[in-house]
Each structure stands twice: as C-alpha cells, then as structure tokens.
Symmetry: C2
Subunit: 142 residues, 2 copies
DNA sequence: TGTACATGCTCTAGCAGCTAGAGGTTCAAT
DNA sequence: ATTGAACCTCTAGCTGCTAGAGCATGTACA
C-alpha cells in the first residue's frame, strides 16, 4: 500500500496533482486509513502511470478520460483510441508548423539587429510594422 | 476617434481583450465620451497593433510589457530588446524539439495500430507501458 | 423627435492543468 | 511520549483570455 507521496514519487506526479485528478474524477477515490489518509494499490499506480504518460504525449485530460474508458473495456473496437491518437498527432503537427514560421521570423529579427539604440532596433521595428513580416502567423496561441 | 469595437476590428482583437489589456496596464486608459464610452486615437491603435503582433510571435505579456517600455524610450540600448527576442527564439526552438519527439512517438503508435479490439491496441499498450517508448518526453506541457 | 437596436459599460465567473499556501492532523520512528 | 515529516481540506492564484448577466449609450432612420 502506497501513500500519496510514494505514489507521486513513483509516477513523477506532485501530490496536489494526484488529488486534483481524483477531484475531477480521473483517478478513483482510494481507500483510506483510519486517520483518513489515502492509500493506493497497484491498480491505481497503473492508472496514474497511464495518465502521466498520456500527458507527456500532450493528450488533454478529456482525451485521457476517453482513453482510460477504452482501456477499461478490452472488447471495444480500438478504432476510437486510434482516432484520438491521430487527432493528437495532427495537433502536434499543426503546432510544429506554426512554431516553424515563428522561428523563422524571430531569427530574422534577431539576426538583423545590429546593436544600436532602440530607435533603430530591428526587433522593435518588426513588431511595430507587421508588413515587414515574411510569414503568416495569424492565429495566436496555438 | 475609434470606438473599442472599431479598434478591435482593426487589430483583430476582441473587445473584451482590449479591456483586459487596459485592466492589466498594457494599454493606457483611453479618453471617454460624456456617456462613458472609450474612444481611441492613432497612438493607441499603434500600441495595440504592436501588442498583437508580439502575441502572434508568441511573446508572453510580460515580455511585451518590457518591449513596449523599450519602444517608448528610443535612446535606450537595443540590447535588451534583442535579448528578449533571443529568449523567445530559444523557447520556440525548445518547444519544437519537444514536439518533434512527441510526433515521432505518436506516429509510431498510430502506424502500428492494426485495428482489432482494445485488448491488443498499440495505442493503449504504449500508453500503459512507458518502456515501449523510444524517445524521452519527460517534461509535461512545454 | 421618437424609437429601435447595435454596441458599449461593469462585474463576475469560467477555461486548462495544475501549483502554492494556510492552518491543522496523522503516522512512524525513536 | 515526543518529534517531525508527511498527510488532510480548503481557498486562491497562475496565463491569457472568453462569456454572460444586466444595464446604459449612441446612432440611424422614419
């Protein structure tokens, strides 16, 4: 039986995060000691490992919830899990493409900066005038 | 003189967002009509364009605050603006490297999935067992 | 001049996915 | 019995917005 701290250590999860997962229903309510402390077994360890691994791959918690459901029903078709993964892959590819464009623009800004004072700083100039940009980087935040 | 809605339209910013920028001190308090509605001039238009452009390039609001300060003092050395841009470039490059690793892993998951039921789904298997991963993707969220 | 109605106002709460802290309790070792 | 680390709950905060309630203003048209 593991304490919440031990569970956290084994999975690389902060204690608060484990409790948070419980709160939003991603982790089950565990057993408790007489004094009210959480104790975890192997099933919970596996589940949390699954969650953390999926998080490392960038899956949002809602997708992980679905994946856990699928994983709990071994007779379901795996098509759905596959489509969740494909969706995630697509997102990653989109973000990469966007970052690529940003990198190009930032490199250009930085390389052209000659080091005078701010009145002739290329970095600030480019920010002031969007038309100086070569690439499209319309959407914010992706 | 522009209403907040017109300003938003010109810069691709939602009205709420403009007010938010004012609230956190990134945009100045504008003049008001007798009835209390905000009215903006060209200086504010330029400032908001600057902010939005920097956001599109992924700069966090705090960095933008610094860049605006620098931009307001044309005699300062541009070294600082340069270093902010370099920092941002570095972050973009780090994120790209991370996404690259994730993409590889997700591609592998997806390509190996043969389409049976979930008990033998590669997607779920990989998530269950981290040791199946080829790449390191330790940190979450980057 | 009246009236419709788009747009404006403030205030509060919510999103993801945690993280940190206050103030108090339990557990395990000595 | 006592210490001290680790646990408990609860609340609030982070980034960068976004949405909605409930009301006021501004403008165009008849």
């Amino acid at each position: 039986m593991l304490t919440i701290g031990a569970l956290g250590k084994k999975t690389g999860t902060k204690v608060q995060t484990v409790r948070y997962y419980e709160q939003i229903g991603l982790m089950p309510e565990p057993g408790r000691t007489e004094g009210g402390q959480r104790r975890y077994g192997d099933a919970e360890l596996d589940r949390l490992s699954f969650i953390r691994h999926a998080r490392q791959l960038g899956f949002p918690l809602e997708a992980i919830r679905e994946l856990l459901d699928l994983s709990d029903n071994p007779d379901c078709s795996c098509a759905e899990a596959d489509s969740i993964a494909r969706r995630q892959l697509k997102q990653v590819e989109q973000r990469m493409a966007r970052l690529e464009a940003l990198r190009t623009e930032l490199q250009r800004m930085v390389h052209e900066c000659s080091g005078g004072n701010t009145s002739e700083c290329r970095v600030l100039e480019v920010l002031r005038d969007h038309s100086e940009c070569l690439t499209n980087h319309e959407e914010i935040g992706a």
